[in-house]
């Protein structure tokens, strides 16, 4: 049958029963054995509700202890966990729910309360809720069946029961925005994840004495990967109170004494610029892992100087690859500046030219990956029609790069439309749908442009209906009413026309290319 994700937790629970699997801000924690036992009971409740293999359960939750129990319970029932990005905005969230059609939803009290208070059209949710007692008013108002963790733990019987899930069954659905103009539900199997976790750790050699501080939401695959990896290792995951205050994150690293820390370039830049990382390096920290983009060479040097005893690792991946494709460790990093590393064991990276054939070493082309980590497909079923997976089953990343003679990957351009800004992953659609509601806006396209601090800066391009002159600040205010600050475009540009594809859809890719090739303006470092 092969190892399924929940087998990782079961094995660690047998070996490290009393050890904390997770610790939350304020000191709340849960041991491996308790997490295993509680999630068994959640699985039983789900099964009694008729939810099991082939079904999906949505996870609409901030990082918290119940969220972990729900997550493992969902997997153990044989159902698929669908991560819903809580900040994504209502139309995006509804789109995800409508496509994935979950039979139940794990929802935290905060999200439930927000739904309850919302004046406009409420989200359409499944009628089975996994939550806490605090969600009762919202559940009652919607006549949803509320199943609380307290009730499940008290009333379901102990013991495991195998759902009969195979390694090739889908474990999780993770939504990402590729190059297709809409969010894609990436279906990842147990085998996809387990192969990726094992491949990654064959290179990093982490063990049960390792622990990590998590600063990202678990609905980012980067966060899930850390959780799953430490479940496999039997290591403890510490959850940060959040990344609002980099100095506070440094204090957490020191207080918890984690051996590891993982973040995207923005997190490291913030720790370098806005915490006393260099003056008070966390004494127990042994390694850091940078994912989600390359750290600028100057920042890499600064990081190395700030924490000289800490091993710096980089990884490159895509959600569709569960997620990791390449890795580079501290020994190579100095020698191979700019490299994103070599393919994980079992993963093959090729560079294809415009004719679809492999190019020579050092020649630029599209990065293509194959191996046991490549997704089963999109929920929409059109990954081949969209060209994301080719007829050889390879993942067409859409990213541009080249390989050197030792197989190291160097990237020259990203193609994904998912905007990575300030450590957040943002669907352009969620911002466009807000801007489009402004009465003067005819069409809108939102793209991410390179930014030295944020990674990418969100820029909105609009065409307008006729009318009197309008201050661009008005669009900003319009967005601020509906979006968190980090998701509000840093600049707005009025244009006469937006580029379109042959089928008439607005092409963000063409727009981005056109803007980036301008000698100055928002594409350059001085604009915006």
């Amino acid at each position: 049958m092969g190892v399924r994700l929940f087998d990782l937790l079961r094995t660690s629970a047998a070996k490290h029963g009393d050890k904390p699997a997770a610790v939350f801000p304020g000191g709340e924690s849960i041991g491996f054995a308790t997490l295993d036992a509680h999630s068994d009971r959640v699985a039983q409740r789900l099964r009694r509700l008729g939810i099991g293999p082939g079904d999906r359960v949505a996870m609409f939750h901030d990082n918290s202890l119940p969220a972990l129990v729900w997550f493992w319970g969902i997997l153990k029932s044989g159902a698929q966990n669908v991560d819903v990005p809580t900040l994504a905005g209502r139309p995006t969230i509804q789109g995800i729910l409508d496509e994935a059609r979950p039979k139940a939803i794990a929802i935290d009290a905060k999200q439930a309360a927000a739904l309850h208070a919302a004046a406009d059209e409420p989200l359409r949710l499944p009628q089975i809720w996994l939550s806490t007692d605090d969600s009762r008013p919202a559940a009652d108002a919607r006549e949803a069946g509320l199943h609380t963790l307290t009730d499940i733990v008290a009333n379901e019987r102990a013991g495991t029961s195998d759902p009969g899930t195979s390694q090739d069954d889908v474990a999780m659905v993770v939504y990402t925005s590729g190059t297709t103009g809409r969010p894609n539900g990436v279906m990842l199997s147990h085998r996809n994840f387990v192969s990726n976790l094992e491949g990654a750790n064959a290179l990093m050699h982490l063990t049960d004495r390792d622990s990590i501080l998590v600063v990202v939401p678990l609905y980012y695959i980067h966060g899930r990967m850390q959780l799953l990896l430490h479940a496999m290792l039997g290591g403890t995951v510490y959850f940060s109170a959040g990344f609002q205050f980099p100095q506070k994150v440094l204090l957490e690293l020191i207080e918890y004494g984690t051996t590891g820390f993982s973040g995207v370039p923005y997190h490291f830049k913030q720790l370098l610029d806005r915490s006393k990382l260099a003056q008070t390096p966390p004494p127990a920290l042994e390694y850091v892992l940078v994912t989600g983009g390359a750290l600028a060479p100057a920042d890499l040097d600064k990081l190395r100087a700030a924490v000289p005893k800490v091993g710096i690792h980089l990884a490159y991946g895509q959600t569709e690859a569960s997620p990791r494709i390449t890795w580079i460790g501290p020994e190579q990093l100095e020698r191979k500046r700019g490299s994103l590393g070599i393919a994980l064991p079992g993963v093959t990276v090729e560079i294809l030219g415009s004719d679809g054939l492999p190019v020579a070493t050092g020649v630029n082309g599209e990065v293509v990956a194959s191996g046991p980590n490549i997704m089963k497909g999109y929920v929409s079923g059109d990954e081949r029609a969209l060209g994301k997976v080719d007829d050889k089953g390879r993942l067409r990343t859409g990213d541009l790069g080249w390989l050197d003679d030792e197989g190291h990957l160097f990237l020259s351009g990203r193609s994904s439309e998912m905007i990575k800004s300030a450590g957040e992953r943002i669907f352009p659609q969620e911002i466009e749908s807000v801007i489009a509601r402004h009465p003067r806006v005819r069409d809108v396209a939102v793209i991410g442009l390179p930014d030295p601090l944020l990674g990418e800066r969100i820029v909105a391009y609009v065409t307008l209906h006729d009318g009197p002159p309008i201050e661009l600040a008005e669009f900003r205010q319009h967005c601020l009413k509906e979006l968190p600050f980090v998701r509000v475009p840093k600049s707005f540009e009025v244009t006469d026309e937006l580029p379109r594809t042959d089928s008439g859809k607005i092409s963000r890719a063409t727009l981005k290319k056109a803007v980036s090739s301008r000698p100055s303006g928002p594409g350059g470092t001085g604009g915006g």
């Binding site: 300030a422 009413k481 509906e482």
Partner: protein, 78 residues
């Protein structure tokens, strides 16, 4: 205008117009993200004329508008 009122007006107008119910005691953790915190630091430095130290940008000082106002008061006296 009291410092806390100035802060509330600034944050509600420029950073979190989607949180109209926010008051001086509201936990800013759920309202502002790391980029908004940077904006607040720059705004405080410009408006109140002192440098905000890295050590000071922590929840004890920035956790709510009331905490921020108390912090600004203390720093202005020193």
């Amino acid at each position: 205008m009291a410092i806390s009122d100035e802060l509330l007006t600034y944050i509600k107008t420029e950073l979190a117009a989607n949180s109209p119910d926010m008051d001086a005691e509201t936990n800013l953790g759920g309202v502002v993200d790391s980029t908004a915190v940077m904006e607040i630091v720059v705004w405080i430095e410009g408006k109140y004329g002192f440098d905000v130290e890295i050590d000071d940008i922590v929840p004890d000082n920035f956790g709510s508008v009331a905490k921020l106002a108390a912090y600004i008061e203390t720093r202005r006296k020193t």
